[in-house]
Symmetry: none
Subunit: 202 residues, 4 copies
DNA sequence: TATGAATGAGAATTCATTCAT
DNA sequence: GATGAATGAATTCTCATTCAT
C-alpha cells in the first residue's frame, strides 16, 4: 500500500525532482552528480537517498513523469477538426513546450541521443502506438484531399524536430540570432505557421 | 615548430580520434572514459595520453575538426543557382550527412545540448557569420520573388533540425517506424523534397 | 532504579532479541544491519534504539544471555553419577542444543572466531572456572579408574567441537551428507554415543 | 591468454592475499575493509583494485586457493595402509594445519558459518565426492573388521570438528587452558591420538 | 512509545592522470 | 613510442545514530 505523502515528503520530493531536472538536463545522466542535485535541492546527499533509492531512480522518475506530459499535445490532435488547423495547432503547442519547458526537452534529448538505454522499450510501445494512430488520422485527411500528400510519420517527425530544436539547440539558436530573451520564439511561431500552412494546404 | 607526423603517429592519432568519436558520441563527454577509448583504439591508456595531453584535448580536437566539415554543405549554397533547387540540394546533402556520419551529428548535439561549453564562441563567431551571409542570399531570393517569404534564419534552422533529427534521434525514429536498416532515409529524402518544394515555391 | 518492564516493553525487547539473534547469527556483527533487525522485529529503527542504546548493546545483551544457557548442560554434570553415562549425557544434551538452538551456537562461534572481542574476559573468568571444576571431577574419575585416562580439558573441548560442529558447520554437513531435514542428528547422536562409549570405557 | 606475472605483480598479488587472509580471517568478509587490507599489504586502496577487481574477487581467490590445500590431508588417506594408523595420521596432519595455518581455518569457518554463500556449490560437489570416496574406504575397513564400526561420514566430521576447533576457537581454548604459546597443541595431539586409538581399535 | 526526517562517517569503486622504465 | 604500476580526487551508496515531533 502506498502511503500518501506527508507535507515534508511532498516538498522534498518536488525539490529533488526540480533540482535533478536542472542538473540532468544540463549535464546528462553521467555528467550529473548527486552532489550537484543535493546542493540544488538544498538537501544533504544522504537525505536525497532517503527519498530516492539511487541516482538512477531519480532519473527514472523524471523520465517516466515526462513521457506522458510530453505526448499530451499529440494526443489532443482532433480527427474531427480542421486538418490544417489541427496540425498547426499541434506545432504551436509543441513550440510552447519548448519555450516553457526546455529542460524537459533536453532531458529527453539527452536520453535519446545516448541510445535511450532507460526508455528504449517505451519508444517502441506506447509512443509508437500513439504515433501510428495519429498517422492514420493524417493519412485519412490526405486520402480525403484535405491536406497535401506527405508521409504522415515523417510529418510528425518534422514537427518534433523543428519545435524541439528551439529547446535542445537553444544555445546555438541564440548565438546565431544574437538574441538573449524569448522574443525569437514569436518569430519561430510565425515561421512555423507560414511553413506548415504552405506545405500542408493541398 | 611542429614536426611532420611519422607514419605511426599518423596512424595512432587517427585511430584515437575514430575511437573517441565512437565513444564520445555515444556516451557524451562525461560518460566516456579513457579506458573505453583506449580499448577501442587498440592502445594503452598512457599511450593515448602520449598523443593527446588529456581527455579534454581529444574531445576538443574532435569538435574542431568537425565544425568545418559540418558547415561545408551550407557553404556550397550557390547564390547564382536556382533558389529552390539550391535549398533542396542543401537539405539532401545534410540528410546524407546524417545518414553517413551520425556519430559526428550526435557528438555535436551532445555538445550543444550541454550548453556548448567548449565551442560556445565558435557558434557566435564563424558560424553566425556564415549563416548570416547565407541568410542574406536567401533574403535576396525572397525579395526577388523567387521563393516564398519565410524568415531565412529560421528556414536554415528548420533544415538543421529536420535532417539532424534522423541522426540524433535515430533510436526513436527506428522504434516508431519499426525499421532497422537505412531504408527509411530514402523515405525521409522524399518527404523533405516534397516538403520544401511545397513550402518554398512562391 | 530499574523499573519493572511493562507488557509492551517486554514484548518488544523479546522481539528485538529474537530478530537480532536471527540476523547476527547469520551475518555476524558487522554484516548485520539495524535495518535488518528492525524489519525482522517489526519495529522502526529509532524505536529499536529506544530499547537498546546501540547495535553493540543488542549484541552484548544477546551474548550475555547466551553464556549462561550455553553452559547449563556442563553444570549438570554430576560428580556422583556414573562417569561414562554422565559424560555421554552431557554430549547428548549439547547435541540437542545444536539441533534446537543452532543460531545461538553460530552467534557464539562468530564471536569466538573473531577473537571474542566482546566476551574475552568472560572466557578466562567464569567459563574457565567452571571448566576447571568439571575437569577436576573428570580427573577424579580417571584416577579412580572409572574412565579411560584422557586429558579432561581436551575431552571437554572434544565434546564442544563435535556437537557444535553440527550447528556451526550445518551447511557443510548437509551438503556432504546430501540431506535437508534434521534426520542426520539421530545418526550423529548414535555416532557420538558409540564414539564416547568406546573411548571412555576403561 | 593469461600473461605470466611480472616480478612486481607476483610480489603485490602475494602481499595482497597475505594481507587479505589476515584481515578476512579475523573480521569476516563484511567486517573487513579494503582500507585494512591495503594498509596491511602496504599498498594504496586503488592500487589494490588494480590487482583485484573487487573486494569480492580477493575473497574468492583466497577461498578457491584454500579449498584444495585444505583437502590435501584427506586425499592422502591410503586405502592400502594400516587403517587405524591412516586415520590417526590424518588427524595429526589436520591438527598440524590448525596449528600452522589457523587463519585459513578461520577464513573457511567464517564462510561456512554464514551459510557458505560463496562456496556453497563447491561443498556439494568436489568436497562431497571426495568425502564419499574416503567414507567408502573406511566402510571397507569396518566391514573387514579392521576398525570399530562407526559411521564413516560422522567419523570424518569428528576429525574436522576436533582439529579445526584448535584453530577456530583458539581464543577460547587459550583462555580456558590459560596458555599463550603453541605448547597445548602437543597435548591436543596426544589427546587425539589416545582418543582415536581407543575408539577405532576393534 | 513511536516514527519520519536527517546526517556524519565511512566504504567500495571509478577514473583521469602521472611515474618509471 | 609504449606500457605496467600507482594514485588523488571524486562519486555513489550504506549505515549507525540523532533529532524533532
Amino acid at each position: 500500500m502506498t502511503q500518501p505523502l506527508t507535507r515534508i515528503q511532498q516538498k522534498n520530493t518536488t525539490a529533488i525532482l526540480e533540482a535533478a531536472l536542472e542538473v540532468f538536463s544540463q549535464h546528462g545522466f553521467r555528467g550529473a552528480t548527486l552532489d550537484q542535485i543535493a546542493k540544488a535541492a538544498g538537501l544533504s546527499k544522504p537525505n536525497l537517498l532517503y527519498y530516492f533509492s539511487s541516482k538512477e531512480a531519480i532519473h527514472e522518475t523524471l523520465l517516466n513523469g515526462l513521457m506522458d506530459t510530453w505526448l499530451d499535445p499529440l494526443r489532443t490532435l482532433n480527427p474531427q477538426g480542421n486538418p490544417v488547423d489541427e496540425i498547426k495547432g499541434y506545432v504551436q503547442r509543441k513550440l510552447e513546450m519548448s519555450r516553457d519547458y526546455p529542460r524537459q526537452s533536453r532531458l529527453f534529448a539527452n536520453e535519446i541521443l545516448q541510445g535511450a538505454p532507460r526508455i528504449h522499450d517505451g519508444l517502441g510501445g506506447p509512443l509508437k502506438t500513439l504515433v501510428d494512430e495519429k498517422a492514420t488520422v493524417i493519412q485519412g485527411w490526405i486520402d480525403a484531399g484535405k491536406i497535401a500528400p506527405l508521409d504522415p510519420h515523417h510529418l510528425i517527425f518534422s514537427i518534433w524536430a523543428m519545435t524541439q530544436h528551439y529547446a535542445d539547440f537553444d544555445v546555438q539558436v541564440r548565438q546565431v540570432l544574437g538574441v538573449s530573451g524569448d522574443a525569437h520564439f514569436a518569430q519561430a511561431a510565425e515561421f512555423l505557421d507560414a511553413f506548415y500552412t504552405k506545405s500542408l494546404t493541398p
